[in-house]
């Protein structure tokens, strides 16, 4: 067989898609033969067919970009605040030891429940969505940033010192790149929670992008529409993961 063809056929992306197609096929049969009641799970084919209607009636595509935008803004904010705070917790051991435990505890708590508070402060607005997404996103980034910086090999720091680098260069050229893999672990976890929170709040306050559509479809008992809009949420998550994977590869090629 042609090597190129073989490479495409054995690519992980394709393998993943094939498994997905297989799953959809099995589900299709299971629902069609009433093994799974249609009231609970929509037939994959019906779900698929619901997309044009969703686009026409609910502007699915616009909602997709809206949720994506909210996530990007919340994640951007989480990075902007999480990384410097992580650095602060690394630099000042007292602050680090004092706050890391609290942050981890706060992260374990369901911050979604804070939404009435933000609703009072900012109303049903994009600000509420961004802030609710920001909170669980920034925490793992700050924690992992501290851990990553603490884990930098002392030998690499000595290399920098022996070449008389400035503190600034030490951070940008040695500590940060060395900590990138650990920080990205935090980013991946953070992005996930940011998305979950944003969609959940959209759902709860009936405002914004995909969460609002899921809620609308759900209350109409439109099962295919509900599943189709959930798939759109999954697409946002996939896109985010892919983007951050690319950025990581760019920052740390190996």
């Amino acid at each position: 067989m042609n090597r190129k063809v073989k490479k495409i056929l054995t690519s992980p992306t394709l393998a993943g898609l094939a498994a997905l197609a297989l799953f959809a096929g099995v589900l299709e049969i299971a629902v069609a033969t009433d093994v799974i009641p249609q009231l609970i799970v929509a037939r994959p084919s019906d779900t698929f067919m619901a997309f044009p209607e969703l686009q026409k009636e609910m502007h699915l595509f616009g909602a997709f970009w809206e949720t994506l935008g909210m996530c990007a803004a919340a994640t951007g904010l989480a990075l902007l605040i999480g990384i410097p705070f992580g650095y602060l917790m690394y630099r000042d051991d007292l602050i680090g030891r004092a706050y890391e435990g609290w942050l981890a505890a706060a992260f374990a708590a369901p911050t979604v429940l804070l939404y009435p508070l933000f609703l009072v402060m900012f109303g049903r607005s994009h600000m509420t969505l961004i802030l609710m997404g920001f909170i669980p996103g920034a925490i793992p980034i700050a924690i992992q940033c501290r851990q990553g910086l603490l884990g930098v090999s002392p030998t690499l720091l000595n290399v920098g010192r022996s070449f008389n680098v400035t503190e600034r260069e030490m951070f940008w050229k040695i500590q940060l790149p060395a900590a990138v893999p650990t920080i990205f672990t935090g980013i991946r976890i953070g992005v996930m929670y940011t998305l979950v929170n944003i969609v959940a709040i959209e759902y709860l306050i009936d405002f914004g992008g995909l969460g609002r559509i899921v809620s609308e479809m759900y209350f109409r008992f439109d099962s295919p529409g509900t599943y189709a809009s959930i798939l759109a949420v999954v697409a946002v998550s996939v896109l985010f993961y892919w983007c951050f994977g690319r950025v990581e590869r760019w920052l740390r090629p190996v």
């Binding site: 030998t155 000595n158 290399v159 010192r161 022996s162 008389n164 400035t166 740390r252 190996v254």
Partner: protein
């Protein structure tokens, strides 16, 4: 260019959290003249790396004094370059960018620093691997990258902590030749830590034998083999004489070190 290094009465004690502090160096004094090649040999744990960290300004709390050309040094110093014992290449940089690192932080323009880095890469025999990342190199190649990086910094005093530790004997001998070649052109003051007696005799003007705990200088042996030397020198009778002499000094220390290690293991 000068680079006379004077170490006088340097002591260093690590107090590992209060209980049984380790006296790593005890009143070590040594003068290394400009352009001289000195090897330091001694059992594992005798304080060789600690001595380098003191000279390199990487340990703040020691007693005694280190001077370069008569000036007391305090902290890191532009004239001192260190090749570390542990893995020290930056995994996120290619060989080229690793070697160019010290030039980059000196603010040298990209083209100039890359051209210079390529020279040093060639010097350590890594031509063709410029765009490889450390993960794609063997242990010995990574060490050579680190050597090239410190060479590119052009220190007047070069401290090398077992740079050829991960190499087989043959490659080690050939790289020794290479190192002598580099040294004869760049004329730095060289300090080399090694566990390999052959390597020490092959390369050095003097070999410093250190004792095990507390780390002291036990004996300094002048190697009066003619220069320029190549690895062929190891077949001569004189060479064998020096090796035997150093081994006699080391044997006692090494067995003390081993007994100590065994005792510690048994105590666990």
């Amino acid at each position: 260019m000068s680079g006379t290094l004077e170490i006088s009465n340097v002591s260093k004690t690590y107090d590992a959290g209060g209980e049984n502090p380790v006296k790593a160096l005890d009143k070590v004094s040594l003068t290394v003249n400009q352009g001289e090649f000195v090897s330091i040999i001694g059992p594992s744990g005798c304080g060789k790396s600690t001595l380098f960290n003191v000279i390199g300004g990487l340990i703040p709390d020691y007693t005694g004094e280190v001077t370069i050309d008569g000036h007391r040094i305090d902290g890191t110093h532009r004239d001192v370059g260190v090749v570390f014992q542990e893995e020290s290449t930056f995994p996120w940089r290619t060989t080229l960018n690793n070697v160019a690192f010290p030039l980059e932080v000196q603010g040298m323009a990209r083209e100039a620093r890359e051209a210079k880095a390529r020279e040093f890469i060639k010097l350590v025999g890594l031509e063709g691997f410029e765009n490889h990342f450390p993960a794609q190199l063997s242990g010995g190649m990574k060490q050579r990258t680190a050597v090239a990086r410190t060479l590119a910094y052009e220190p007047r005093i070069m401290l090398m902590d077992e740079p050829f530790g991960a190499l087989d004997e043959q490659t080690r001998l050939l790289l020794g030749d290479k190192l002598l070649e580099i040294w004869s052109t760049l004329k730095q003051t060289m300090l080399l830590i090694t566990h390999n007696i052959t390597e020490a005799v092959q390369l050095s003007d003097r070999v410093v034998v250190m004792s095990y705990r507390p780390g002291r200088i036990k004996r300094v042996i002048d190697i009066e083999l003619p220069r320029p030397r190549s690895s062929e020198v190891i077949t001569t009778a004189e060479f064998g004489h020096y090796v035997g002499d150093i081994w006699n000094e080391l044997r006692e220390e090494a067995s003390r070190g081993m007994a100590d290690a065994e005792e510690k293991l048994a105590a666990r």
